[in-house]
Every structure is written in structure tokens, then in C-alpha cells.
């Protein structure tokens, strides 16, 4: 019964996405073209990758408000390494390590420091942002060589590189959530942390790792963003956490934790990307865009909650 309901929810989001696409294709001829659809996929990549990490965190029963700042921080680390003539692989590894390390600090603050995730990551939001500003003196670091820029501009069979990166992140993430012990623990902790602890699971360790995963996802997104803009700005990523949370929630993952999955998140991210793209194509005013996006988020959660609470 619950399985049917869960797949019903996911079907609902997919139907919503496809419905939105059909609607937009009826309203403007420019939406449903191969080049625009690829355009949308490329634009959605950054938020989708961050949201993948956010999904892990939300399933485990927590929240991560610092992802936007971690994007800026990892981007800055990446850029400074590249500027120092470090090899591409080393620079990317350094950025990922920075993201994961700061994410781990979030996790430690929450597990050992016993801070609520909201507060711990709120603090990190400021701290990471400050570090990014500090490392760069407030100015963006830009101008990288073509090899690096391929991360964003490269294409294979016309499909932009960021799409492949997103795909890889989601496939790996889905495997981890569904097939590994760690993934099980993520769901179990979110569903009932005390019962999980009593079952002998090292909740502290695994919770910390979840936040490291979120930091890592932010770092990967930062790599794509930096390549795309050919610049790492310390003020990048402001409010990106909201978009990531929105994508996760629209995708059907419950903010209470314990259930959900990446399949829903990618659809949620696509819904937001398609929406923004469509509103631009239709020339809708920016003010109205903000209202529409907010309404979609609220609407999606309302539908999700009502589906969940429908009991026989």
C-alpha cells in the first residue's frame, strides 16, 4: 500500500514535469526544440548536483543551509589552485576535498556539538562565505585555460558536459542510497534515529558523512559553475540552498526524513529549470517569475502532503 502511494507520488511529479513541458510547448514554439531542451538540461545541472547532496541530508532527517556558501568556497579553492598552475585534476580534487571537509565540519557540529542541523549549517553558511571572501580579498578569480572550461563547454553528441556530470552524480548517488549499507543507514537515521542507534549503528559517524557528501556535491557543482562563468566569485551561490531544497521537496522527499530518493529530486530540479526557461522564453516579467516559482514550490508540497495524509 505504501509502495503504491510512493510510486504514485513520483508519478505525480513526472506527470507534472511533462505536463509543464507540453504546456510550454503550446505557448511558445521555442521551447520544444532540441537545442533549447539541451539548454535547459545544461542550466539545471548545477542546482541538480547540489540538490543530490541535499537529498541525502534531508532523507537523513537533517537540512543543509550552507550549500550555497560551500559552492563559493569550493569554487574559490579551485580557482586559486588553477591560478597557481596546479594540474587540473589536482585543482578539482582540492575543491572537492574542501567541500567535503567543510561539510564534515557541519556534521561534527551536529553530532558531537549536538547542534540542530538548521543552526549548525546556518553558521557554516556565514563561515564558509567569509572564508571565500577572505581567500580572494572579495574579488572574483577568473580567466582559466580552455582545458578546464571544457568541463562546462565540452559537448559529446551535442549533449553538454554538465549533463553527463549530473548523470554520473545521480547514478552514483542512487547506487549508494539504494544498494549500500551507508544508504540504508541514511534512511534508517532519518526514519528513527534512536532505533537506529540502538541497532548498533554508529549514528555519529554516518551522520557526519552525510554532511560531507553534501559538501562534496556542492564542490562538484562549483567546478561546473566556475567553468561555465570562467570565474570563481566569492559571492557566488547566494540562496542556492533554497533552490536545492525546493528541488528535493518538489521531487517528493519528505522534510521529515526517512523517505524519498534521487529519482524525485532530478525531476524536481528539472521542473524548476523548465519553469525558469519557459518564463524567460515567454518574456514574463521577473517579478511575476518569482511569484510563479514560489507558487509552484508551495503547490508541489501541498500535493505531496495531501497524498501522504490520505488514510483509508
Amino acid at each position: 500500500m505504501a509502495a503504491l502511494r510512493a510510486s504514485g507520488r513520483r508519478l505525480g511529479t513526472v506527470v507534472g514535469l511533462v505536463g509543464l513541458c507540453l504546456l510550454l510547448s503550446a505557448l511558445t514554439p521555442y521551447f520544444l526544440t532540441v537545442s533549447n531542451l539541451l539548454n535547459v538540461l545544461e542550466q539545471t545541472a548545477i542546482n541538480a548536483v547540489i540538490a543530490a547532496g541535499m537529498t541525502f541530508v534531508i532523507i537523513s532527517g537533517g537540512i543543509d543551509l550552507s550549500v550555497g556558501s560551500l559552492v563559493a568556497l569550493a569554487g574559490v579553492v579551485l580557482a586559486l589552485c588553477l591560478q597557481a598552475q596546479a594540474p587540473l585534476v589536482v585543482a578539482i580534487a582540492a575543491a572537492c576535498a574542501a567541500g567535503a571537509a567543510f561539510g564534515m565540519l557541519n556534521g561534527l557540529a551536529i553530532t558531537w556539538g549536538r547542534l540542530p542541523p538548521f543552526i549548525a549549517t546556518l553558521g557554516m553558511m556565514s563561515i564558509a562565505r567569509g572564508c571565500a571572501l577572505l581567500f580572494t580579498g572579495g574579488r572574483p578569480v577568473s580567466g582559466f585555460d580552455v582545458d578546464f572550461r571544457h568541463v562546462a563547454t565540452g559537448r559529446f553528441l551535442r549533449v553538454p558536459a554538465p549533463v553527463f556530470i549530473t548523470l554520473a552524480v545521480y547514478l552514483l548517488g542512487r547506487f549508494v542510497l539504494a544498494e549500500t549499507r551507508f544508504g540504508r543507514y541514511v534512511y534508517a537515521m532519518g526514519g528513527n534515529e534512536e532505533a537506529t542507534r540502538l541497532s548498533g549503528v554508529n549514528v555519529r559517524l554516518h551522520k557526519t558523512m552525510v554532511y560531507a557528501v553534501s559538501g562534496l556535491a556542492s564542490a562538484i557543482a562549483a567546478v561546473v559553475l566556475t567553468a561555465r562563468l570562467n570565474s570563481a566569485q566569492p559571492i557566488a551561490g547566494i540562496m542556492y540552498e533554497l533552490d536545492a531544497i525546493a528541488a528535493t521537496v518538489i521531487g517528493g522527499t519528505s522534510l521529515m526524513g526517512g523517505e524519498g530518493g534521487l529519482g524525485g529530486t532530478i525531476v524536481g530540479a528539472l521542473i524548476m529549470g523548465v519553469l525558469r526557461n519557459g518564463l524567460n522564453l515567454l518574456g514574463v516579467s521577473s517579478f511575476v517569475q518569482q511569484i510563479v516559482i514560489g507558487l509552484v514550490i508551495v503547490f508541489a508540497v501541498v500535493i505531496d502532503t495531501s497524498l501522504k495524509s490520505r488514510r483509508p
Binding site: S7, R10, L11, V14, V15, V18, C21, L22, S25, T28, P29, Y30, L32, T33, V34, S35, N36, L37, N39, E42, Q43, I46, G137, G138, R139, P140, S142, G143, R149, A152, T153, L225, R228, L229, N230, S231, Q233, I235, A236, I238, M239, R276, N277, N280, L281, G283, S285, S286, F287, Q289, Q290
Partner: protein, 316 residues
């Protein structure tokens, strides 16, 4: 489970089939897009007004878009990409990032869409590989100088100034600051005691200046690189009960700033005529569309605004 897969497949197939439909013939009127940094600033709203007027006069359709937040540079790039997909005829762009928007301009080049850069220049080095039709804007450097010169004369050569910068890396702010600092070099008694960014925003102008007032109680002047931040500083001064004791200088000459000058809460600002910029931008874009020649730079005049000429509408 099978039902879901089936449904998704059917819908995907329909989508792919629809893809092969070519978009209809181009609209009768050419479409020009104006991509602003933000619409939360009266400066850009004036620019939009000028552009809309020009569009009506030239009989073209105008699409105006901006990102939700001025700091969201990726979003502005997305808007440009989407407008390219929407096959607009030309794009007039006020870049949120002097270097960061270069790739977007590159994409427009590749699609054969002419780009007019407005108000904030692209970084020369970064933009080496892309083509733009023209730059429409004021000489921000000169503007900074004008206000610096005003400070030197109004203070009699002695002032302790706090500077509120815009978003770091924005060419507009950088140029204004350079102009200001160069102008005050002539007066060794005019000193900049602190300089901090307030990211073009009014509330940040308030907070940052409030803190700087604490750190530098002897400061008697604040120069904010735009009026929004200056007005924030005005409120901070009022909250501290020091109205009239600290000289406030801004940039942009938005209506609220003019009123503040008339009230005596601000001393001076620099008018940039954003509506003229908007008009020129659209006119250049249309010219480029039609294949007519456009000068590489179109300067829009600037003017110092003080009590004498602060009444709105007193400058055209």
C-alpha cells in the same frame, strides 16, 4: 510500477515527436531583449523606461528580463541563453559580472545575435575573444572624478571619508572608485579612512556604514558608489542622530537621492541619465539588426547634481 514506466515512455515519445516540429515563422516585428542586472533599483527601472520608449518609436518588440538577485550571475547567463533559444533579434545587456558574462556573449555571437553592452563594461582582457556591437554607458571613471573634485572643493581640502563600494569586480564600481581616488590625490588633506563593499544594496549600505561610523567616529564624509547605498548610509546617520554632520555623496541621481539632496540629507550625486542609456542601447541594437554601422562607444553624458540642480526633471 509498470504503469509508471509505460506512462513515462508514452509521454516521452510524444515529447520527442513534438520536438521535430520546426518553430513557426519569425514574428512580423523584430524582437530586441534588454537584460538588466536587477529591477530592484530605480536606476535600471529608468533605463527600462527609456528602452521601452525607444522600442515603441522604432516599432520593435522589447523583452525585458532580469535575474532575481543581482548577485546571481549564473542566472543572468541563463537568461541570455534562453533568449538565444527564443531567437531574439538582438540583446542589450548590463552585465552582472564583467568577466562572468563573457561566455554568454560568446554564445550569442555563435548564434549570430548582436550584443550591445550597457552601463557596465566587460573586462577587456576576458572579452578579447568575443564581439560586441558597442558599449553604451557613462564614463564611470570621469563620474568618480567629478564627485572627488566636488569633495575637494566643498571640504576645503580637508575631509576624512568612508567609501562604500559596490559588488567587487563590477567594472562600474571599480571605475568610479578609481576616478574618485585619483581626483582626491590633488588634496592631501582629503583622506579615505575606510573602504568596504555594500554590494549596491540599500540595507547593506545602512549596516556597513553604521559599523564604520563606530570604527571611525571622526569620519565626516561618506562616498557610496551608488545612491542606493548612499541612502542606506543616510538612514544610518539619521539613526545615530548625526544628520547634517556627515557629508553624503552618491552616484546615479535616482529620485530618492535628489529628494535627499533637496532636504539636505545628502550633499551630491552624479546623474547618469539611465533612460538615455536605455534608449541608446535599443537604438544601437536595432541599427545592428538592420546592418547599419554603430560607433564602438556611445557615451552618455554625466553631470554633478547638487542642491542647485537637484529638483527631479530639472535635468533631461
Amino acid at each position: 510500477m509498470r504503469l509508471i514506466r509505460l506512462a513515462t515512455l508514452v509521454l516521452a515519445a510524444a515529447a520527442v515527436a513534438a520536438c521535430n516540429r520546426a518553430p513557426g515563422p519569425a514574428a512580423a516585428r523584430p524582437r530586441v531583449a534588454l537584460v538588466l542586472k536587477t529591477v530592484n533599483n530605480p536606476f535600471f527601472i529608468d533605463m527600462q523606461r527609456g528602452a521601452e520608449q525607444a522600442a515603441t518609436d522604432l516599432n520593435v518588440d522589447l523583452v525585458v528580463q532580469a535575474a532575481e538577485r543581482e548577485t546571481d550571475v549564473d542566472r543572468q547567463m541563463q537568461i541570455v541563453e534562453n533568449l538565444i533559444q527564443a531567437r531574439v533579434g538582438a540583446i542589450a545587456l548590463t552585465p552582472s559580472g564583467s568577466r562572468e558574462l563573457v561566455p554568454a556573449v560568446g554564445k550569442a555571437n555563435a548564434a549570430g545575435i548582436p550584443v550591445v553592452v550597457v552601463d557596465t563594461r566587460l573586462d577587456k582582457q576576458a572579452a578579447a575573444g568575443v564581439k560586441t556591437v558597442t558599449f553604451v554607458g557613462s564614463d564611470n571613471y570621469r563620474g568618480g572624478q567629478i564627485i572627488g573634485e566636488y569633495l575637494v572643493s566643498a571640504s576645503g581640502g580637508h575631509a576624512r571619508a568612508v567609501v562604500l563600494e559596490g559588488i567587487p569586480g563590477h567594472e562600474t564600481g571599480d571605475s568610479r572608485l578609481r576616478g574618485f581616488r585619483d581626483a582626491i590625490k590633488s588634496a592631501p588633506g582629503v583622506v579615505v579612512v575606510a573602504s568596504q563593499p555594500a554590494n549596491w544594496e540599500r540595507d547593506q549600505g545602512f549596516t556597513v556604514f553604521q559599523n564604520l561610523m563606530q570604527a571611525h567616529p571622526d569620519a565626516d564624509t561618506v562616498f557610496a558608489c551608488n545612491d542606493m547605498m548612499a541612502l542606506g548610509a543616510v538612514e544610518a546617520i539619521a539613526a545615530a542622530g548625526k544628520t547634517g554632520k556627515i557629508r553624503v555623496l552618491g552616484f546615479d541621481a535616482i529620485d530618492d537621492a535628489r529628494r535627499a539632496i533637496l532636504d539636505g540629507r545628502m550633499a551630491a550625486t552624479v546623474a547618469q541619465f539611465p533612460d538615455r542609456m536605455g534608449r541608446q542601447a535599443i537604438e544601437s541594437a536595432v541599427k545592428a539588426l538592420r546592418g547599419e554601422p554603430v560607433p564602438a562607444e556611445i557615451g552618455v553624458p554625466i553631470e554633478l547634481v547638487t542642491r542647485t540642480n537637484a529638483a527631479p526633471g530639472s535635468v533631461k
